[in-house]
């Protein structure tokens, strides 16, 4: 089975936060919890670039390694999910994650972190597919519906790609290949004009 991946094409990302809002609206994520964020570097300067970041669904996910209660698990298709009923909110996954993906809503005991919340690749959680409980705890299960995650589906410029890693890589490779072509390609004017 193919493994799923996200890829954000930084040459296409326009920092519109459409992915962020789509994710929050679609999954009813509480304010303050960011399953996805857009990061901009060199804002307002030459070379400004933006990238949309969320859980990368790592092949060898550090969060799974550090979880003391084994609440985080990986599906066969590579999607990393958390079981919110098992999670104790210790925050170790956040410390292990290189992307700042795990998020913690405020719990109600001593300001403790609630169960970890993160990007589910719109694949719900361990509960039964399309159950009310799954929707309540994790949001939509678009993968079970055969759809791409909301963020990628909503991306205006198709900067954010999601799906089978091989296909995503092919799409991106084709784009990169095309970018050097056309009349402004390096050497074009020498070869055809002068």
């Amino acid at each position: 089975m193919a493994r799923v991946k996200f890829l954000c094409d930084v040459d296409r990302c326009i920092d519109c936060s459409g992915c962020v809002v789509a994710c929050k609206e679609g999954n009813h994520v509480p304010v303050g919890v960011n399953r996805r964020r857009v990061i901009t570097l060199d804002q307002g300067k030459p070379g400004e670039k933006s990238i949309s970041v969320s859980c990368m669904h790592c092949a060898d996910a550090p969060c799974i390694a550090v979880c003391p209660v084994d609440a985080i698990y990986q599906r066969a298709d590579g999607i990393v999910l958390v079981n919110k009923k098992t999670c104790i909110g210790c925050g170790y996954c956040f410390m292990a994650c290189p992307f700042g993906a795990p998020q913690f809503p405020k719990g109600n005991v001593f300001g403790a972190r609630g169960a970890m919340d993160k990007c589910t690749f719109c694949a719900g959680g361990p509960e039964e597919d399309f159950s009310a409980e799954e929707k309540h705890l994790y949001g939509q299960n678009r993968i079970a519906e055969g759809k791409v995650p909301l963020c990628a589906g909503m991306c205006a410029t198709k900067a954010l790609l999601a799906g089978d890693a091989d296909i995503v890589a092919d799409v991106y490779r084709e784009r990169v290949f095309q970018r050097g072509s056309g009349v402004n390609a390096w050497g074009w004017s020498k070869a055809y004009k002068e």
Binding site: D11, T157, R175, N184
Partner: protein
Amino acid sequence: MTNSLNDIRHAKSMIFIGSNAPEAHPISMQHILYAKEKNNAPIIVVDPRRTKLAAKGTDYVRIRPGTDAAFMLGLINAIVTNGWEDKEFIRTRVSGYEEMVAVAKDYTPEEVENITGIPASETLRIAELLANNRPTSLTWCMGGTQHHIGSSITRTFCILQLVLGNMGKSGGGTNIFRGHDNVQGATDMGILADTLPAYYGLAEGSWKHWCKVWDVDYEWIAGRFKSKEDMSKPGFTLARWYEGVLGEEKIYQDTPIKALVQWGCGSNSNSQYTRVKRAYDKLDLLVIVDPFPTMAAVACETDNVYLLPSASQYETSGSVSSTSRQIQWRNKVVDPVHNCKDDYQIMELLVKKLGFAEPFYKNIKQLPEDITRELGKGSLTIGYNGQTPERIKLHMENWHTFDVDTLQAIGGPCDGEYYGLPWPCWTEEHPGTPILYDVSKSVAKGGLPFRNRFGDEMKYEASGRVENQLAAKGVCNPGSEVEGGYSEFKDVVPGTNWKTDLSQKTIKDAIARGMAPFGNARARCVVWNFPDQVPIHREPLHTPRPDLIAKYPTFKDKPDHFRVDTRFESEQKPDLVKEFPYVITTGRMVEHMGAGAETRSNQYLAELQPEMYAEINPRLANDLGIRDGSMMTVESPEGAKITVKAFHTERVDEKTIFLPYHFAGILQGKSYADKYPEGTAPYVVGEVGNAVTNYGYDIITQIQATKDGLCKIAKA
């Protein structure tokens, strides 16, 4: 837009002036970036700010606000000097060219540098870039129009495209991205102060035409006005309606405005908002129809305010026009929730109460389809007659059969038609016109020449030259009976022309003969009915360069300009810059929309942009001791003063302050947040940026000059 968003995919270069597409039109970026990647097309961004579009662009040119016309004329001059103009296109399809070049030749690269701040070498480089990468898609937005010479600036954009021969070509054209959903449709329907629907104007003939469409007696309509003179007199504009209330300027109307209905209008996009607020307080009646209470609803402190909650777009259906002139059908998703009603219901109740429901709904039995039918029947000028509700719905249902590149359906029930039947769509068989003024296709297949609107011949004041305004011999759409220019069609049905012949015989006849109903003429570089026949640069009213006023002065004051006196010359004070040394410009951010009543009421968007701020260059800020994230004041020459958070960024240069205009709820430090009806206050309130935008209005359209005012700032 002469072309469509999708057609930008064919551009070999793109130039954006006063347009920040990633923030204002994020969806358009997919086509823009496609052209950049696929065609290796340079994206040239001309803007006072290094915008998010500049981040995606290949070439960024920082321009002083309000000097766009000078840069454009400089480009034209550079192109003509180097012989890069499209000589054949100009010979056959452009008029007044020599007169225009005579004006443009004064804008040497050095002079352009002096006016705009753009290095002379950059002007030449950009000119060469445009010349070598044709066709160019040119886009402007409010950054190009909201100036006191906005109408001249936009004309220079068009003339540049004519000189480069980029009009009527796929990948070229002037593509003005419309700022709101269905704003193209709203404009087409005549929300302007000086025209009936479909740009018919206000002349008696126009009224008679529409009375025929509505099937009501013209005399009855006329009887509802005070006089026939009033009927044909342009009204107050959105930019200055409040002058009709306040009585502080001389107005040309018998009584001041006493009642105001704002239907889907976020009022804080009005400049000089402190005056707008005073006008609200003076009104006898204020009615606000909106899904969310607007700033007007709280800023008006009398109890003569009525809020009518209207349905959102998801709670109603009907036809809408996109920026690409495509008509689409919107379906209802849910019934109106809570106590709101959709716009049709509100209008119906209002009309019934006012007692003219019978004539009003004469042609409208089925909502909203009959509305689309009725407006299509009358809107012949822009060819709205071919888009019947049935055809529009068919397009929506067969969305997947249209090609993303050409917008043309391949097979299926809409085979050969262009998506959304972009107007003009002359007949019910016409496929729509995807690109305006494209003579490579026959008119029946969506081609068009330039419109013949201003006579067949003209003698120019400047040169004394007489020029034929019709297209040159040999230039016409394929299959045209007349091989060259021809006048507009009239008297096919006696007493009518193509615009007023409701039987549409004139239009059908013309198309059958392979010709455009509106004739085949040249595009004008000289507009003899405008104050500047050839557009020129004029310094902003409130200019940071008073030394340029002598050479580029503004216009004489204009009395009775949309019923109110408008100051130009008397407002251009050279000393103003001493007290107000910084340029203030406004614009959008991607998270909020328009006046922001809707987006500030969305918790997630509010979370992303929770605060009003002013962009300030770190160097300027540090010189003035304004720390990043601390509060600063911005004060306008009109005396308004706001306190906002300073945001250090090099997006703006050291002389410019940028304000987003989406925030409302606080005006000059006074919060109105508690005045919202219970449970309707937006998550985010902030200072109204437009409180400090300056006086200044376009000489033709009276659009407000929000992009090039002056201000002073201080640490708060």
